[in-house]
Symmetry: C2
Subunit: 202 residues, 2 copies
């Protein structure tokens, strides 16, 4: 019988990303469920100053409310010319929450006069697992730069504007498998695999 | 006969601020003129990474184009929870340039979930003077915090949201004289007074 693991998200792409990473690693015996598949509980606002703080708070809330093992992430884009912002405010950069198109448009407009040599950026992800009284947080980073116009329609968030180092295409132009292999969240989730494997066999 | 000094700005409030500070310091013999009172010249975009860099570039451009002594400032709001941004991007934070209301609204929305103890901020101003082959840049700071709603209709920029340390009212609720005495630009301009006095008697 498989063990249910709550991913504290309603984003189907995030759930599937974790499912793919578990499958590739050959981890069996875990059933990944999202927030829409558990009874609703009050989710605290993300007020932390760091990705790790927010990820851990979300995973604690989910585990406490459901009794399930809970994985939560907080991720964002850290832009050099913005001193590392949008950072923990990535999702609400344009004011509302999760307005990808508006966030991308605002970021581009803010960087209009920023020359190419100062457009460095990195995606950062903190992934936390809270289960059976244990807490783990892993950080993954994906270095690159902010393009001058969006490209591609895969991915989500700032993917259309983010060109990873070593390539010429945006994160939104990568296949899901290419993105998993390189991305910040992929790196952080793979770093969580040992802890997830323990759950599967535990 | 008075010597003309170009302030590289079209903002009448900035011109008057310098005029008041010169008058209070008893500096006579300087006629402050703005960009609307000199033949138009091409103004380079502000692409510097620091206030000082931008102020100096603007003052150099103005002096080179007009042959006048030129004062230029670059100022902005540095918010702790935004790692010091909007910073040099203060004027175009919401995408367009100089849209005060939109900038204030965006800043408030970005900080919605940021608790009171992390709402520290400071106004920073770099004021440069380029004249007779000499270059001077002075920095002034004004510490405070970002309020939860705008107040007052004086000032400009982020003044309605900025509550200076030691008081309970916003910068937009201060009289011009109160603001001159405390503000970042007031401090930077007063630090330039010795250099301006030399011009007046030179």
């Amino acid at each position: 019988m498989s063990r249910r693991v709550l991913v504290a998200s309603r984003n189907a792409k995030k759930l599937n990303e974790l499912r793919r990473i578990l499958a590739e690693a050959g981890v069996e015996g875990l059933e990944i469920v999202g927030l829409d598949e558990v009874p609703p509980y009050e989710e605290a606002p993300e007020t932390g100053a760091t990705f790790a703080e927010n990820a851990l708070a979300k995973a604690r809330d989910g585990a406490a409310a459901t009794g399930l093992a809970c994985v939560a992430d907080d991720s964002g884009l850290s832009v050099d010319a913005l001193n590392g912002m949008p950072g923990v405010l990535s999702a609400r950069w344009s004011g509302g929450h999760g307005a990808d198109a508006a966030n991308n448009e605002l970021l581009l407009a803010q960087l209009t006069d920023v020359p190419d040599e100062r457009r460095g950026a990195r995606f950062v992800s903190a992934c936390a697992l809270v289960a059976d009284g244990r807490e783990v947080v892993m950080i993954g980073e994906w270095p690159g730069r902010v393009a001058r116009e969006p490209a591609g329609d895969g991915g989500f968030g700032y993917d259309p504007l983010f060109v990873p180092d070593g390539g010429a295409v945006s994160a939104a132009q990568l296949t899901p498998a290419e993105k998993d292999a390189a991305s910040h969240r992929g790196r952080a989730l793979r770093a969580l695999l040992p802890a997830l494997e323990e759950l599967a066999v535990g």
